[in-house]
C-alpha cells in the first residue's frame, strides 16, 4: 500500500478466474465502458490503470487482468503478489468456474492472509436463465470467506462500476485502519496501557506505573 507523494493512494488489484468467465470484458467495461464480444483470449497478463476519487481521496487502481485457464494457474503468484485487492470472477452459467473461484480464494488466503480484500463477481447475469450456479450457494460462500459478492454483466453494464467502487472503498478503509494500527503500535512504546494484561506480564511487573 503505497502512498504516492502526491497524496494519491495506489492500490493494486488483480482479476482472477477461469478462462472465459469475462474478466477481460469486465475490465474493458470498467475502463473504456464498452463491450466487445470479439476480443481475444488473454494469454498474457495485461495491466491497466484507473484513477478515481473516493470521499475526496484520490486513488489510483493498477489492475492486472490475467490469463485464466486452470493450466496457467501457476503464473498467478507473479500477478497477485503485493495485491491489495482481488476480484474473483466466475460465470453464473458455468458451475466449474465457481469451483475455480473457491480454489483462488483458498490460495489467496493462504499466500496473502487477510492482507488482501476479496470480492467475488458472478458475471453474465444477462444469461440468468442459463444460471448453473445457485444464487444462495454463491452468496453464502462469499459471506463465509468474508468477500463481498456482486452480480455483474459486462455485456449490459450491470454491477461493474459498483464492484470496483466497493472494492476500492474497502481497500481504502483497510489501508486507513492499517496505518492507524501502525500509529497505535508505535505510540504504545511510549504509553503504557494498563488495560492490557499481556503487557503487564511481559514487563514482569517491574516497571508498572
Amino acid at each position: 500500500m503505497n502512498a504516492a507523494p502526491s497524496g494519491t493512494n495506489n492500490f493494486k488489484v488483480v482479476l482472477l478466474g477461469e478462462g472465459c468467465v469475462g474478466k477481460t470484458s469486465i475490465l474493458l467495461r470498467y475502463i473504456e465502458d464498452r463491450f466487445n464480444d470479439k476480443h481475444l483470449t488473454t494469454l498474457q497478463a495485461t495491466f491497466l490503470n484507473k484513477k478515481l476519487n473516493i470521499n475526496g481521496k484520490r486513488i489510483n487502481l493498477s489492475i492486472w487482468d490475467t490469463a485464466g485457464q486452470e493450466k496457467f494457474h501457476a503464473l498467478g503468484p507473479i500477478y497477485y503478489r503485493n495485491s491489495n485487492g482481488a476480484i474473483l470472477v466466475y460465470d453464473i452459467t458455468d458451475e466449474e468456474s465457481f469451483g475455480k473461484v473457491k480454489n483462488w480464494v483458498k490460495e489467496l488466503k493462504k499466500m496473502l492472509g487477510s492482507d488482501i480484500v476479496l470480492v467475488i463477481a458472478g458475471n453474465k447475469i444477462d444469461l440468468e436463465h442459463e444460471r448453473m450456479v445457485p444464487l444462495e450457494e454463491a452468496e453464502t460462500y462469499a459471506e463465509m470467506v468474508g468477500a463481498k459478492h456482486f452480480y455483474t454483466s459486462a455485456k449490459l453494464n450491470q454491477g461493474v462500476e459498483e464492484l470496483f467502487l466497493e472494492l476500492t472503498r474497502e481497500m481504502a478503509e483497510r489501508f486507513e485502519r492499517n496505518s492507524q494500527a501502525e500509529n497505535n503500535r508505535s505510540a504504545r512504546v511510549l504509553v503504557v496501557d494498563d488495560e492490557t494484561p499481556t503487557q503487564s506480564s511481559c514487563c514482569s511487573g517491574n516497571r508498572s506505573t
Binding site: 478462462g19 483470449t41 469451483g99 440468468e128 436463465h129 445457485p134
Partner: protein, 765 residues
C-alpha cells in the same frame, strides 16, 4: 559519507599483506554498493592504503593520521581520506563526538583536480591537490620516502584487481559461450540473394518430373533468408513441417493425403459420438438447472454444509503446487453430488409416477434429492401435445419446459436404471432409448426473464425439431443442439463435417457391445460406460472419458468463438473447421487436454492450408514442439533462462536496467511470445514469415530461433525502454500496445543478424 560509517572499516586491522588487502577490498566495495544503490552502479575501490599514515594539516599543528583510498565510482575516480578516529576498532574513539572528524574527512573527485603538487621536505612528503575552482585541498603528508611505495603498491593493486576482474570476466564469458554455443549452429550458412523468397519458379525448378524435391537444404536456406512467397505456402509448408518428406513423389503425397484424411474422419467420428452424449447431458443439465432455478426461488438449497466443508479444508488443502491438470477429487465429488439431483430429475419421469423411489437403491446423498424430486413432481405437468405449441404464444410470458419420455419401454425401467442413466449411461446400446429432453419442462414461470428468447438463440429452429430432443436421432441432434455458446459455430451444419457421414446412422453393433460390456462393472477401473447414440463403430465410452471430453469441448468452443474474429477469414464455417481440428487433436491427446493458445497456433495453419485434415496434420507437428511451452512443459523456463544469458552478453546495459527496476529479468513479459511463436505480436502476413523462418532455422542456423526473434524485438526498442526506465508493468503494457505494430521484416532480419553475431562470437573464441 554514510558509506564510511558502517562496520566494514575494520580494514584497519587487516593492514599489510596483499592477501588481506584483497579481502578488505571486497568488503569495501560491498558497502560501496549499498551507498550508491540509488544510481545502481557499483562503486569499486581500486586501491587503499593502510600502511601509510597520511595526515592533514589544517590550522592544526599536529598532522592527523588517517587512511587514504582510491575509489572508482560511476562518475569517475575519487580519492578519499578518513581520519583514524572514524575507523572501527579505533578503541580510543569510544564515546567521543565523531562529527568533528567527519568534517575533516576528505573526498576529492580526481576529474576535478587540475594540479597536483608534491612538496618534499626532510620529514615527509606532502601531496597537495588543487581543484578546478582553484581551491587547494589540505595537504596529505606521507612519511619520508613512502610516496614511492604508495605508488608502487597502488600500481600493483590496480593491476592485480584488473587482472582478477578480467579473469573472472573471461571465465564468465566462457561459461556463457558454452551455453550460447548450444543455441546456434557452429557453421555459418551464407546468405541467399533471392529477394522474393521461394517463388513458384524456383520451386518448380527444384522439382523433377515426378514431383520430387531433393535439395532440401537449398529450400531451407532460401526460406530462412527470404521466406516463401505467399501463394506457395500451401504447397511448401507441409514440407517445412516435415509432414511431406523431401524425396517423395507427387503421387505418394496425394496418397498420403487421402490416407490421412480418412484417418482424420475416423477420429472425428469417434469424438462426434462422444459429443452427442455431451450435448445430451448439457441439455439435461440446463433443463434441470432451470427447474432448480424456478424451484429455488421458493426454497433455499441445503448447500451450506457442503461449501463449508470445502472451505474448511481450505487453508490446509491448498497445495503448494496447485492442481494443474485435473480438478481436485473433492471437487469432482462435489460436482457429482450436485449434478445428481439435476440428472435424476431431468428425466423427471413425471409420467412414470407409478415408480416409487426405492430407498434401497438410493445413496445417502440422494435423500434430499428425493424431496426435491417430489416437489418438482408435484409441480410439473407433462404436456406432450403442447410441444407443438412452444412457439405459438409469443407474447405469453410463461415458458413451458417439457419433459418427455418418448420411449414407452423406458417407463418400465427400474429406478435404478434411471439413476444409472442419469449418471451418464446415457443410452441403451441400440440407440432407441432416449432419456430425456430438454426443451422440456414444467409450466413454471421464470420471473421476468425472457427465457424463450435464449432458447430460440441456442436452438434456432426449435419448433421444427421437437423430435430432436430424442437423442436417438443423432443426425438431427448434433448440429442443432449446440450449446448457446457455440451457437454461431454449429448453427450451420458444416459442409466439412457432413460429407463425413459417419455419425448419421444408428448402430446396432453398439447395442451388442453394450450388452457385453454392460455387466462388466468388472472393468478394471470400475467405470460406467456410455454408448453414444451417434456411434457408428460400436463405441462405448467410459463416463470418465465423456466427462473429460465434455470439459475440453466446452473450453474449445468458448475459445474458438474468440479466435481472430476480426479477420474476415474466420467465418462461422471456418471457425467450425477450427473447432474440429481442435477437438480431433484433443481427442487424440486427452491427457494433454485443450490449453488456451492452441486455437491461436492452429488458426494461421488453417488460413494457409484451408483444408481441415491437412491443417490438423500440420498442427500436430507444431504441437509436438509447442506443447512444451505450455504450462505443463519445461520449455518456457528454459527460454527465460536463455534470454537472460543472451541479454547479459549482448546488451548488459539493458540487462542492468531490467535488474534495477524491480528485477524483471525473469522475462515473464515474453511469455506470450514464446507460447504462440509471436502469433499475437505480428499481423497474419508477418506471422507466416516468422513461423516459416522458425521452422527452417533449425536446419540452417539455430534450433532456438524464437530466442533470437525475442531478442530482436527487445533490441528494437531498447532505447525506448532505457529512456523510459521501464519496469515490469511498463514493459508489459508497452509490448501489449505494440502488438501487431512491429516492423516485422526488420525484426526478423535483426534476429538473423543476432544469430550471426553469436555464431561469430563463438567462432572466435
Amino acid at each position: 559519507m554514510a558509506a564510511l560509517s558502517g562496520g566494514s572499516l575494520s580494514v584497519s586491522k587487516s593492514a599489510g599483506s596483499r592477501g588481506h588487502a584483497s579481502n578488505t577490498v571486497s568488503v569495501w566495495s560491498g558497502e560501496a554498493t549499498i551507498s550508491s544503490a540509488a544510481t545502481s552502479v557499483q562503486e569499486r575501490i581500486w586501491f587503499f592504503v593502510v600502511t601509510v599514515t597520511a595526515a592533514i594539516q589544517k590550522d592544526l599543528v599536529e598532522p592527523m593520521p588517517g587512511y587514504l583510498s582510491l575509489h572508482q565510482t560511476s562518475a569517475g575516480l575519487v580519492i578519499k581520506w578518513t581520519p583514524n578516529q572514524l575507523m572501527n576498532g579505533y578503541a580510543e574513539s569510544e564515546g567521543i563526538d565523531k562529527s568533528v572528524y567527519w568534517a575533516m574527512s576528505l573526498q576529492v573527485c580526481v576529474w576535478e583536480v587540475v594540479y597536483v603538487h608534491v612538496h618534499r621536505s626532510q620529514a615527509s612528503d606532502a601531496l597537495i591537490l588543487v581543484g578546478q575552482d582553484g581551491v587547494q585541498r589540505p595537504p596529505i603528508h606521507f612519511p619520508k620516502a613512502s610516496i614511492e611505495l604508495v605508488c608502487s603498491t597502488m600500481r600493483r593493486q590496480i593491476i592485480s584487481r584488473a587482472f582478477y576482474g578480467w579473469l573472472a570476466y573471461c571465465r564468465h564469458l566462457s561459461t556463457v559461450r558454452t551455453h550460447l554455443s548450444g543455441l546456434v549452429h557452429p557453421n555459418i550458412i551464407p546468405r541467399d540473394d533471392t529477394e522474393d523468397g521461394l517463388t513458384e519458379e524456383i520451386w518448380r525448378s527444384m522439382m523433377d518430373n515426378r514431383g520430387v524435391i531433393s535439395d532440401k537444404d537449398e529450400v531451407y536456406r532460401i526460406v530462412y533468408y527470404s521466406g516463401v512467397q505467399h501463394d506457395m505456402r500451401r504447397e511448401v509448408w507441409p514440407f517445412l513441417l516435415g509432414y511431406y518428406e523431401f524425396g517423395s513423389t507427387a503421387e505418394e503425397r496425394s496418397e498420403q493425403d487421402s490416407t490421412y484424411r480418412r484417418q482424420y474422419e475416423t477420429t472425428m467420428s469417434e469424438w462426434l459420438c462422444v459429443e452427442a452424449i455431451v450435448r445430451q447431458r448439457d441439455r439435461e443439465a440446463t433443463a434441470a438447472s432451470i427447474a432448480r432455478l424456478t424451484e429455488s426461488s421458493g426454497k433455499p438449497r441445503p448447500d451450506e454444509n457442503e461449501s463449508a466443508e470445502v472451505f474448511e479444508d481450505d487453508c490446509s488443502v491448498i497445495s503448494d503446487n496447485p492442481p494443474i491438470v485435473s480438478p481436485e477429487p473433492s471437487e469432482n465429488e462435489q460436482k457429482k453430488t450436485e449434478s445428481k439431483p439435476v440428472l435424476s430429475r431431468a428425466p423427471s419421469i413425471d409420467e412414470v409416477d407409478n415408480i416409487e423411489m426405492d430407498s434401497e437403491e438410493k445413496g445417502n446423498d440422494d435423500d434430499n434429492i428425493n424431496g426435491e424430486t417430489e416437489t418438482s413432481d408435484s409441480r410439473e405437468h407433462i404436456d406432450i401435445d403442447s410441444l407443438n405449441d412452444i412457439d405459438d404464444d409469443d407474447d405469453d410470458e410463461e415458458v413451458y419446459i417439457k419433459s418427455v419420455v418418448e420411449n414407452p419401454d423406458m417407463r418400465r425401467e427400474s429406478i435404478a436404471e434411471i439413476k444409472r442413466l442419469a449418471e451418464g449411461i446415457v443410452q441403451k446400446g441400440d440407440g432407441r432409448g432416449l432419456l430425456c429432453s430438454v426443451d422440456s419442462a414444467n409450466g413454471t414461470k421464470l420471473n421476468g426473464n425472457d427465457f424463450r428468447s435464449s432458447i430460440d438463440e441456442s436452438q434456432p429452429s426449435t419448433h421444427q425439431q421437437h423430435t430432436s430432443v430424442i437423442i436417438t436421432n443423432p443426425s438431427v441432434d448434433i448440429a442443432p443442439s449446440a450449446s448457446p455458446v457455440s451457437g454461431g459455430t454449429t448453427a450451420n451444419i458444416s459442409p466439412a463435417r457432413s460429407p463425413l457421414g459417419v455419425v448419421r446412422e444408428e448402430s446396432h453393433s453398439a447395442g451388442a457391445s453394450f450388452d457385453t460390456l454392460e455387466p462388466s462393472d468388472a472393468r478394471p477401473d470400475n467405470r460406467s460406460n456410455c454408448v453414444s447414440p451417434a456411434s457408428s463403430n460400436g463405441g462405448v465410452y467410459s463416463n470418465e472419458l465423456v466427462e473429460s471430453f465434455a470439459l475440453n469441448l466446452h473450453r474449445i468452443e468458448k475459445d474458438v468463438q474468440r479466435c481472430d474474429r476480426n479477420y474476415p477469414f474466420f467465418t462461422d464455417e471456418n471457425l467450425d473447421k477450427l473447432r474440429n481440428i481442435m477437438c480431433t487433436f484433443v481427442w487424440e491427446h486427452l491427457e494433454m487436454g485443450y490449453m488456451q493458445g492452441m486455437c491461436d497456433l492452429a488458426a494461421p495453419l488453417l488460413v494457409v492450408m484451408k483444408e481441415e485434415a491437412v491443417a490438423h496434420a500440420l498442427f500436430s507437428r507444431i504441437m509436438s514442439r509447442a506443447r512444451d511451452n505450455f504450462p505443463s512443459g519445461q520449455a518456457m523456463d528454459a527460454h527465460f533462462a536463455d534470454m537472460r544469458s543472451l541479454i547479459q552478453i549482448l546488451d548488459c546495459e539493458l540487462y542492468e536496467l531490467m535488474h534495477a527496476h524491480g528485477d524483471y529479468t525473469h522475462f515473464y513479459f515474453c511469455y506470450r511470445w514464446f507460447l504462440l511463436d509471436f502469433k499475437r505480436e505480428l499481423l497474419y502476413q508477418d506471422v507466416f514469415s516468422a513461423w516459416e523462418m522458425i521452422w527452417v532455422a533449425r536446419f540452417v542456423a539455430s534450433e532456438h530461433m524464437v530466442l533470437f526473434i525475442a531478442l530482436a524485438l527487445l533490441e528494437t526498442y531498447r532505447d525506448v525502454i532505457l529512456a523510459n526506465s521501464m519496469d515490469f508493468t511498463d514493459i508489459i503494457k508497452f509490448f501489449n500496445e505494440m502488438a501487431e505494430r512491429h516492423d516485422a521484416s526488420a525484426v526478423l532480419s535483426l534476429a538473423r543478424d543476432l544469430v550471426l553475431q553469436v555464431q561469430t562470437l563463438i567462432e572466435n573464441k
